[in-house]
């Protein structure tokens, strides 16, 4: 319907004649055609039937930038062109960004500052929870039994299935891999030592911690972060409920109490998984397997595993809640903070695990 007649005069530049619609639908084409014409340019609007603001804008910017002359505009078109001109206030589309080396340096600096702040913030948050703990101990009636019990269910009971399955499978994998390697020395029977000690000392607790961080640490961060965005936390504060007492303490307690129980459950299932493999593949009957386990696992190994568990639980809950509390502004932050919470807590758990390993070796729990 809309067809343009372009005529280029030899002496007085070119004339761009638009017929039909001058609207957003033809915006790209119109702009391209205008760009192709030489100056001085005259735009003839006498045959335009419909013009919208985008069409008007294209005409306006051509006049503004190239000094084009507009002829044949009707009264409505003139007023639309005037209106569009009123709104000519150039705005940036994205925030100004420094380039190259400056940006790299800026980002490095921001990262360092952010890391320092996080560390300091985590320490401060740790302090705030201690104060809240003290307050709850002083006035036990403020302790939220229901919230804590509910968290026990979510963090502990509902994790039994997945942690049990994971542990069982890992038990089989360790037994299988161990027996293959040990068979080369004719020492398959030591597979039981391997399973028993690695499970009690390290794997049971560590795998549970990683699972809890992924399951509950992330949930803590997301729940608290969302409550931060919807201003629920602010509402709590103004009503006089301490968010640390109401939200953080129940989560911390549940993680600290549930972690050793889950770790123990995980050890049990890993040993069962390993035992199954040993029984079916190496022909060692369960009763012998259990007797051997009793002989080769010193009780201290169990303690090593179980002492670490509540500490890991504490770290996971602390970092989950802390990152949740740091959420500000938009919903994207909930996602980012949840990711940070999981990464941070797994990292801290592994660092602490190394510290524990050295510590227990030095006190003679070998």
């Amino acid at each position: 319907m809309a067809d343009e007649h372009i005529s280029a005069g030899a002496t007085d530049g070119s004339v761009y004649r638009v017929a039909g619609g001058l609207t957003i639908i033809r915006a790209a084409t119109t702009q391209r055609e205008l760009d192709a014409l030489p100056d001085p340019l005259t735009i003839d609007l006498s045959e335009v039937e419909r013009m919208d603001t985008v069409g008007a804008w294209i005409i306006y910017r051509t006049v503004r930038d190239r000094g084009a002359k507009v002829i044949g505009a009707s009264r409505d078109e003139v007023s639309l062109l005037k209106q569009v001109a009123d709104f000519d206030k150039p705005a940036r589309v994205i925030p100004e960004q420094p380039s190259g080396a400056v940006r790299a340096l800026t980002e490095l600096g921001e990262w360092v500052v952010e890391a320092g702040r996080t560390l300091l913030g985590l320490l401060g948050f740790f302090g705030a929870t201690l104060i809240a703990f003290a307050a709850v101990i002083k006035r036990p009636r403020r302790f939220r039994v229901n919230a804590v019990v509910q968290r026990f269910d979510v963090v502990g009971v509902r994790a039994l299935g997945i942690i049990g399955l994971m542990s069982f499978l890992i038990g089989i994998v360790i037994a299988q891999q161990g027996s293959v390697q040990l068979a080369q020395f004719g020492a398959e029977v030591y597979t039981i030592n391997l399973i028993g000690r690695i499970t009690a000392r390290e794997l049971g607790t560590l795998m549970t911690a990683i699972m809890v961080a992924g399951r509950s640490g992330s949930a803590f961060a997301a729940q608290i972060g969302t409550m931060k965005i919807t201003e629920e936390i602010d509402a709590m504060r103004t009503i006089g409920v301490s968010p640390v007492e109401a939200l953080v303490i129940p989560r911390l307690i549940s993680a600290v109490v549930m972690m050793p129980l889950l770790a123990f459950w995980s050890m049990l299932l890993t040993l069962i998984g390993g035992g199954m493999f040993v029984w079916l593949s190496l022909g060692i009957p369960p009763i012998t397997y259990i007797q051997r386990l009793q002989e080769v696992i010193p009780l201290t190994d169990l303690w090593v595993g179980l002492i670490k568990a509540p500490v890991f639980g504490f770290i996971i809950a602390l970092s989950g809640c802390f990152q949740g509390m740091l959420v500000q502004g938009d919903s994207e932050q909930v996602g980012t903070r949840t990711t940070i919470a999981v990464v941070q807590s797994i990292f801290l758990v592994i660092v602490l695990d190394a510290v524990f390993a050295v510590f227990f070796s030095n006190i003679g729990w070998i």
């Binding site: 790209a28 702009q31 603001t53 000519d88 206030k89 705005a91 940036r92 589309v93």
Partner: protein, 268 residues
């Protein structure tokens, strides 16, 4: 109830919406004419937002016909619906700006979606003047939604709704949460945009001042239906208890005082 010479832009016939046992709309009829600003009022929970969602196709009604810009909306496939969606703009109650994009990028989203061939410099200029048209200062362009105040979020949402030069504009409580000055200037903005661009506006509001200031006609939602449509003087002449209470309550009177010309006109 329809004024003479009305060219219907939105036609709703026999609409029924329900959630479980709760029936929100039952046999609801409504017509919006070209070039008018229709205000929709009603108590909380009378289904104003559900009506809007039904018209724009976010909610499939149990029964009824909905016709927008001459096209039947029910049972449309995605491609056909796209052609109609290009011709309207919607301002959601809370702005619904994309939080990971700046204001200017938000305005560019519909433009990029429907007209991917527009040259980037032209696109940025179009976004700039839509932002200015929405009543925002130029420095709002590169800001993210989380950095904006409530009023600015609404203006940015309006700028995005206007991006495609729509014929039809849906506004869901545009002045809620704004201070009276901001609300008044928003009313002024809508009025002037309507006059400049010849828009048809479907306006859900609780703001009595807005009703008096901008609406050509007002539709009242109650008892799961549109119980009355008309100019404010016409509605005042009805003796439905809810309408009387709404317009003649203390707030209704205060709003009417500020717009005496309309009320006086009704008596004359």
């Amino acid at each position: 109830m329809t004024p003479p010479g009305c060219q219907p832009v939105i036609e709703v016939r026999g609409l029924r919406n329900s959630f479980g046992d709760q029936v929100v709309h039952d046999d609801l009829d409504l017509t919006v004419c070209r070039g008018e600003i229709l205000g929709v009022v009603g108590g909380s929970g009378t289904g104003k937002s559900v009506l809007l969602r039904s018209i724009i196709g976010l909610q499939t009604p149990d029964a009824g016909e909905i016709c927008v810009l001459g096209e039947d909306m029910i049972g449309r496939n995605e491609d056909e619906a796209k052609n109609i969606r290009r011709r309207w703009g919607i301002l959601f109650q809370n702005g619904a700006l994309f939080s990971t994009l700046t204001v200017a990028e938000n305005v560019e989203v519909p433009l990029r979606e429907y007209f991917p061939h527009i040259q980037p410099p032209l696109l940025d200029e179009i976004a700039s003047y839509k932002i200015a048209m929405g009543g925002l200062p130029p420095d709002a362009g590169p800001k993210y939604p989380s950095e904006l105040s409530g009023g600015m979020v609404k203006r940015a949402g309006l700028a995005r709704a206007l991006a495609l030069d729509p014929e039809l504009l849906f506004l869901d409580e545009p002045t809620s949460g704004l201070d009276p000055m901001a609300a008044a200037s928003f009313d002024e903005l809508i009025r002037s945009l309507k006059e400049r661009l010849g828009l048809t506006v479907f306006l859900i509001t609780h703001d009595l001042d807005s009703l008096y200031a901008v609406c050509d006609r007002v539709a009242v939602l109650a008892d799961r239906k549109v119980i009355a449509v008309g100019t404010i003087p016409e509605l005042l002449a009805l003796d439905h208890p809810w309408i009387q209470e709404y317009f003649n309550g203390p707030r209704g009177r205060a709003a009417a005082l500020g717009h005496e010309d309309i009320v006086e006109h009704s008596k004359a």
